[in-house]
């Protein structure tokens, strides 16, 4: 078991090293996220609606599109360098690749959200009074976990197909509907200062996360089979 996690950590570190060495993809995704903030805040102000009411939907639509842009390159380096065979032989287990990539994707999403979420909060002028910050943070963390897990799983599937960039968002959306419902309602409840009454939706998100974290342990062996 320790050896399993040790190799995952090595994969994770390597991906972080590569990402922060070039920074191109990270910066372009940050710019994309910032553009989403500006476009939505402009549109919401024009529509003259309560920002507290639209904030959950706007936030999670943006994070969804951000994750599509950020995560669909999970296996890109392995594909471009044709290094997958060497990596599989060194890892010995295909599921190791999932967990290494998943951790990297989760980290990437959190870094992007650290920029985008406060910007949305500011530009949509959300009133912080009475907000259940703990529930809000839990929703963001759990939602990001689920996005990263599904994103990595689908990337593993689509990376071997010629139309990967097209297929990834098409496959991601229906799979992520339960997660999106849960996190939007959790965020809505957090903004309204709710707690216990919203926990059911948070539990739904947790179950979703658990399912898509454990499933690849079995599935990835077949997904990356040559």
């Amino acid at each position: 078991m320790a050896e399993f996690w040790r190799r995952i950590w090595i994969l994770y570190r390597k991906d972080l090293l590569e990402e922060f060495r070039s920074m191109d993809h990270l910066w372009s995704t940050v710019v994309f996220g910032t553009m989403l903030v500006f476009v939505f805040s402009f549109a919401v102000q024009l529509a003259d609606v309560s920002t507290r009411q639209v904030f959950p939907a706007v936030l999670w639509v943006s994070i969804f599109f951000l994750s599509v842009v950020a995560l669909q390159r999970s296996f890109a380096k392995e594909k471009e360098s044709a290094v997958m065979d060497a990596l599989l032989l060194a890892c010995g287990e295909r599921s190791l690749l999932f967990y290494g990539k998943f951790l990297f994707s989760f980290t990437l999403l959190l870094l992007l959200e650290a920029v985008v979420v406060p910007l949305f909060w500011i530009f949509l002028d959300v009133d912080g009074a009475g907000v259940n910050l703990g529930l809000f943070a839990a929703a963001v963390l759990a939602g990001s976990w689920g996005l990263a897990a599904v994103g990595t799983l689908l990337n593993g599937i689509t990376s071997q197909l010629p139309s990967a960039r097209l297929l990834f968002p098409i496959l991601a959306f229906p799979l992520l509907i339960p997660l999106l419902i849960g996190v939007v309602l959790c965020t809505q409840g957090a903004l309204a200062g709710q707690g216990r009454s919203t926990m059911g939706w948070l539990y739904l998100v947790f179950v979703f996360d658990l399912l898509f974290t454990i499933l690849p342990l079995v599935l990835f062996d077949y997904i990356l089979e040559g």
């Binding site: 390597k14 090293l17 044709a82 060497a86 032989l89 040559g226």
Partner: protein
Amino acid sequence: MAQQNALEVRQLRKQLGHKQILKAVTFAAVTGELVAITGANGAGKTTLLRVIAGLARPSGGEVLWNGSSLRLDSRQAAYVSHQPILYGSLTVQENLEFFGRLYGTADPAKLQELLELVGLWLYRLEPAAVLSRGMQQRLAIARALIAEPALILYDEPFTSLDENGREILRQVLENRRPRAVQLLVTHALEHLQGLPFREIRLEEGRSVPKEAAHG
């Protein structure tokens, strides 16, 4: 003395879609043997290596290593492709360290020894992407050797190598002989001149039953 290992391939079949790539491949090899696998384009040579390595599942037959099924998680095999499978943005040293750590062996002295063996020690801090194709191939060879594999699979490894690189690879093949079973796919047997090897020819997915010894 290095451990004696035995590879046995029995009636191996592999189907991809509707096409039967491998139909009935049978052969055996032990530590100390270099087996050259030859055949026309599309005969299934690369597919054979990938199935033996555990990178692809066979449709039938079996691959045995010391009498037990050879699986990907046994981590006994190393693979040298005709493509230099490396991370371009990592340096020469980082590529080797990364794969070494995955195998649980990243001794700096050993990494230096390998890089000196393939003539890349002076380039250790260069990104792999800026190396010439031949130098990338040499790094790929070093990467494959990092864990002292008991089974080494070479798929057209002489591709892109200059005369110096080909000589390095011949030295590797000879140096590894006492410690590994080596299977090498090649179109050019002349590159193995001076090395003892056995030839197995694939014809339309089947191994030719008669094997000629060379060297």
